[in-house]
């Protein structure tokens, strides 16, 4: 065993350990100390009254099955001064008809915006709506979102109480028993919006979520809206605004989260995750993050944007490394050390098991013991799924395939399940 090899082996271990520790730290941020849980609530002061005007943009494409209910709910939110802009494609008559019907039912609330861009995608739809928004604040929702009735008033209060430029509310996938991979997917959202995003907001570098996100309109206009070519427009706008010093506040209360459904087909899940990852790669390549003032901030940005890929490497490297202990005859001390990343990764499983309990308790559900078993059983396989998605994303980006991956065509009779995918389709 040459010294060079041993050093490389130790360095790989250190890198894997760093990835595992950073992920664990992100996951646990909400619970590091008890006050952390309260600090995540929507800033609220007695006497807060809604004072802002708000525009809600709802891009919809082939959404006739769910859009009516979504718009109906959005029209009834508890806020005195807001409008809903349903953005529909010029080629999508079905969805357009639904949106126009709802607009006639709520003429003072809902307006229809027709997007003539081609090819179509979500950022272009958002950019089409931006010039016709009247609100001081612009919010984004997806076409199947279940939005809490008092969310807008609470968001309004957060803008008043914190001086935020951007407010990110919670989004939560709910169907954790649908398929083997939805359980992990649901927990990912739980830890992301409940814990991790708040840490990124404190650190002033945050990839935003795709919906339940609210901006001061002038800030969006100064930034010239969303990047029309980015596959993860939500992340991109968050990074761009962060680098320009925007203050983002993340707020989370289980009663106020926007509920969504996790993709239940493996192929849908894979496409969605591939697109996000490729979007992250595009944001990395675009290089806005390099304008951050300090080296530390730039490294942190690199870590946040690169994490899906680092995790993919870790998911594959870790078991190989452990096997190699026996094959390569590494000194015992180094072999022991090379298990430490696995130990920390095992900790994240323990934390996720507790997270499952916490998630269910927060949402009035009850986790069965089989759910815990399923989580443990699906845990590593899910990492591999993510690794495959990261690899696909890298391959597509290297080959220059920048199109929005088409989801399998969803017939009008079937309820499509993945919101963002449908916008993309």
């Amino acid at each position: 065993m040459t010294i060079a090899f041993l050093v490389a082996y130790a360095l790989l271990t250190v890198a894997l350990l760093a990835v595992a520790v950073v992920n664990l730290r992100w996951m646990l941020d909400a619970w590091i100390h008890p006050e952390g849980v309260d600090e995540r609530r929507f800033a609220h002061e007695p006497g807060n009254r809604p004072v802002h005007t708000i525009s809600l943009v709802v891009p919809a494409r082939h959404e006739e099955a769910v859009l009516a209910e979504t718009l109906e709910r959005l029209a009834r939110l508890d806020h005195p001064a807001y409008e809903v802009l349903a953005v529909v494609g010029h080629d999508d008559d079905g969805t357009r008809a639904v949106a126009e019907r709802l607009a006639r039912l709520h003429p003072d609330r809902i307006h229809v915006v027709v997007d003539h861009n081609w090819p179509k995608n979500k950022p272009k739809a958002l950019n089409t709506a931006l010039p016709v928004c009247h609100g001081e604040i612009v919010g984004v929702f997806d076409a199947e979102d279940e939005v809490a009735p008092d969310l807008l008033a609470r968001i309004d209060a957060v803008f008043q109480n914190t001086g935020a430029d951007v407010v990110q509310g919670g989004v939560q996938l709910m169907n954790f028993r649908s398929r083997w991979f939805t359980l992990k997917n649901v927990l990912e959202y739980f830890f992301y919006f409940r814990s991790r995003l708040h840490l990124h907001a404190r650190q002033r570098f945050i990839p935003l979520g795709g919906n339940t996100v609210f901006f001061r309109r002038e800030l969006l206009e100064q930034a010239r809206g969303w990047d029309p070519e980015c596959l993860a427009e939500d992340c991109e706008i968050g990074v761009r605004l962060s680098c320009r010093g925007a203050v983002t506040v993340v707020a989370y209360e289980p009663a106020l989260v926007t509920r969504e459904e996790a993709p239940t087909r493996l192929s849908d899940f894979m496409r969605q995750r591939t697109r996000w990852n490729q979007g992250f790669l595009q944001v990395l390549r675009k290089g806005e993050w390099r304008r951050l003032p300090t080296v530390g901030q730039r490294l942190r940005a690199l870590g946040i944007l690169g994490m899906p890929f680092l995790q993919a490497v870790a998911a594959v490297a870790l078991p190989l490394q452990l096997l190699s202990i026996w094959v390569l005859d590494v000194p015992v001390a180094l072999a022991l050390f090379s298990w430490v990343p696995l130990f920390v990764t095992t900790l994240t499983l323990a934390v996720e098991l507790v997270g499952l309990h916490e998630f269910c308790r927060s949402f009035g559900l009850r986790a069965r013991w089989t759910d815990y078993v399923r989580l443990a059983a699906s845990w590593y396989a899910y990492f591999l799924l993510l690794a495959v998605a990261a690899a696909r994303a890298t391959a597509r980006e290297l080959r220059g395939q920048k199109g929005w991956e088409k989801t399998a065509h969803v017939g009008a009779h079937r309820v499509p399940l993945d919101v963002t995918e449908r916008v993309a389709a």
């Binding site: 590091i32 072999a335 130990f343 098991l353 916490e358």
Partner: protein
């Protein structure tokens, strides 16, 4: 139940911001500050006094015993690059204890400084003792005991003759105890941080890797995490406490696995094999209820050194269980009492794990009784009971002090002034003067390393118990190959199980003898 301990943490300031400690400059200064400064001075003075008491005469009292020699020899083996032991490491204990010893001897060059090899280890024990005392003070404060109470707990552990004798010895338990106390201190993080709990679990794991019996106290550690936890993050704290400890302790079996020595097999030692022997095959120390049993003998021995701290600490445990802030500590003591009673093997140094917790319980229970008025309801009963209770408590404390303080003073004086190690030292000098360097010796472990460091070949200086128990010890002519034996009372007690040793002694003549009774050291010359 203590309503004080149950009280929630002070509410966060409006807005949910982090609670900042009031800055000294802003807060009005007064008696409280003076008291704080005074106690700080008292803590430093007390610990300095404890250090002085522990250090003076630590090489001369008590006499070196074989286990101490074993651990310093293993530390020396690590330091010298021979591995975890200079013979086959057989998973008798996890190695973290003597790895830390080795760190001390290597980094401070202790073997070349101390008067003898065990003495080098005893220096490390002084460091461990001081760490123990500081951590005990912090632990008491974090259990919301008052400063004087915390000081009392520290004083009890610092000056108890039993603690002094046991904690001077080079025992793995002494290496483990600071980690154990550190684990409890971190479990009681003032802001209830779960990263502190995780760090506490690492400490607990290191304590177990230093001395495996600490694992018995795991329920007490988890209970402490639970009791101190906040409902908002307690689940995560417990998950971390449990998993992190499991993973750190898991390093030990993993280490065995990587060396191919986890499960028993032909031609090699194994962790599981050794554990089976220790747990199931090693003869037990008998029942607590059998007056002739080994465990009763041990207890009598401990009580003979000093009955007060041990007895009072154990006596407080069943009561302290009902005081919330002392419950986990009480559980730690109770578990150890139950283990004593269960009838398995109990090692001589077992009591070390009880003493710090016992000191906390005595001090804590005293404070609780003193404050009985706060804890009792209804008010009418309190008025009637409270003043007599305080008077009784003060009287009891005064009486105990009158009796205990002089007794302890005598013992401590003896421990700091008398030389109990002289027989061992004289025997070593005799061997150095009279026994040629190439002679084959069978010796007590306590002096093994000194002889080897004096230039004798390692394979010609044999630990007495290896003679019968280790097939790797090769003597071409059996007992006739031995030239000299240097034995203590410890060995005579084990003659029955050691036929080779016995035969050798039967064929030899006493050429020198030092000391008497339990501290007698005898040199035999074998007559072939």
């Amino acid at each position: 139940m203590s309503p004080v301990a149950l009280a929630p943490p002070p509410p966060a300031p409006p807005g949910g911001g982090r609670t900042a400690a009031p800055t000294p400059g802003v807060r009005p200064r007064g008696r409280a500050d003076l008291a704080a400064v005074a106690t700080r001075v008292a803590v430093v003075a007390l610990i300095a006094a404890a250090a002085l008491v522990h250090a003076s005469g630590m090489w001369d009292f008590p006499i070196r015993v074989d286990d101490e020699g074993t651990y310093v020899a293993q530390a020396w083996a690590v330091e010298s690059g021979l591995g975890l032991a200079h013979y086959t490491y057989w998973y008798d204990h996890p190695p973290a204890g003597w790895l830390q010893l080795a760190a001390w001897t290597y980094l401070t060059d202790a073997f070349d400084r101390a008067p003898n090899a065990v003495g080098a280890g005893r220096e490390a024990m002084l460091v461990a003792k001081l760490a123990c005392l500081v951590l005990l003070y912090v632990l008491a404060r974090r259990l919301q005991l008052r400063r004087p109470t915390a000081l009392a707990a520290v004083a009890l552990l610092a000056f108890s003759p039993l603690a002094l004798e046991m904690q001077r010895r080079v025992f793995l338990d002494n290496v483990a105890t600071p980690w154990l106390l550190g684990a409890f201190v971190l479990a009681l993080s003032p802001r209830r941080r779960i990263d502190a709990v995780a760090a506490g679990a690492v400490c607990f794991g290191i304590a177990v890797l230093s001395k495996e019996t600490v694992l018995l106290l795991f329920p007490a550690f988890l209970l402490q995490v639970w009791l101190h936890g906040d409902p908002r993050n307690r689940k995560f704290a417990l998950a971390l406490a449990f998993t992190v400890t499991a993973l750190v302790v898991g390093i030990y079996p993993l280490f065995a696995l990587l060396r191919g020595e986890l499960v028993p097999g032909p031609g090699h030692v194994s962790l599981i094999g050794s554990a089976e022997w220790q747990l199931f095959e090693r003869p037990g120390s008998g029942s607590l209820f059998d007056p002739a049993s080994g465990v009763r003998g041990l207890i009598a021995h401990w009580m003979d050194i000093d009955p007060w701290l041990l007895a009072a600490g154990v006596a407080c445990a069943p009561v302290a269980v009902f005081v919330r802030r002392l419950r986990a500590i009480a559980l730690a003591v109770l578990i150890q009492v139950v283990v004593l009673a269960r009838g398995g093997y109990v090692p001589y140094m077992y009591v070390i794990g009880v003493l710090p917790f016992g000191a906390l319980l005595v001090a804590g229970a005293g404070e609780h009784l003193w404050d009985l008025r706060r804890h009792l309801r209804p008010a009418a009963l309190v008025r009637r009971v409270w003043v007599p209770a305080r008077v009784a408590l003060a009287a009891a404390a005064a009486l105990a002090a009158l009796y205990v303080v002089p007794a302890w003073a005598r013992e401590v004086e003896a421990a700091t002034t008398t030389d109990h190690d002289a027989p061992m030292e004289s025997a070593e000098m005799w061997v150095a003067e009279h026994v040629p360097l190439d002679a084959t010796l069978v010796v007590d472990d306590a002096i093994w390393l000194d002889l080897v460091r004096a230039g004798r070949p390692r394979d010609q200086v044999i630990w007495f118990y290896k003679l019968d128990l280790d097939p790797a010890v090769e003597l071409p002519n059996g007992w006739r190959s031995i030239d000299y034996l240097v034995l203590t009372a410890v060995q005579y007690a084990q003659f029955d199980g050691m036929p080779r040793l016995r035969t050798a002694v039967e064929h030899s003549e006493v050429v020198a003898s030092f000391g008497e009774g339990a501290e007698q050291v005898t040199v035999y010359e074998v007559q072939p």
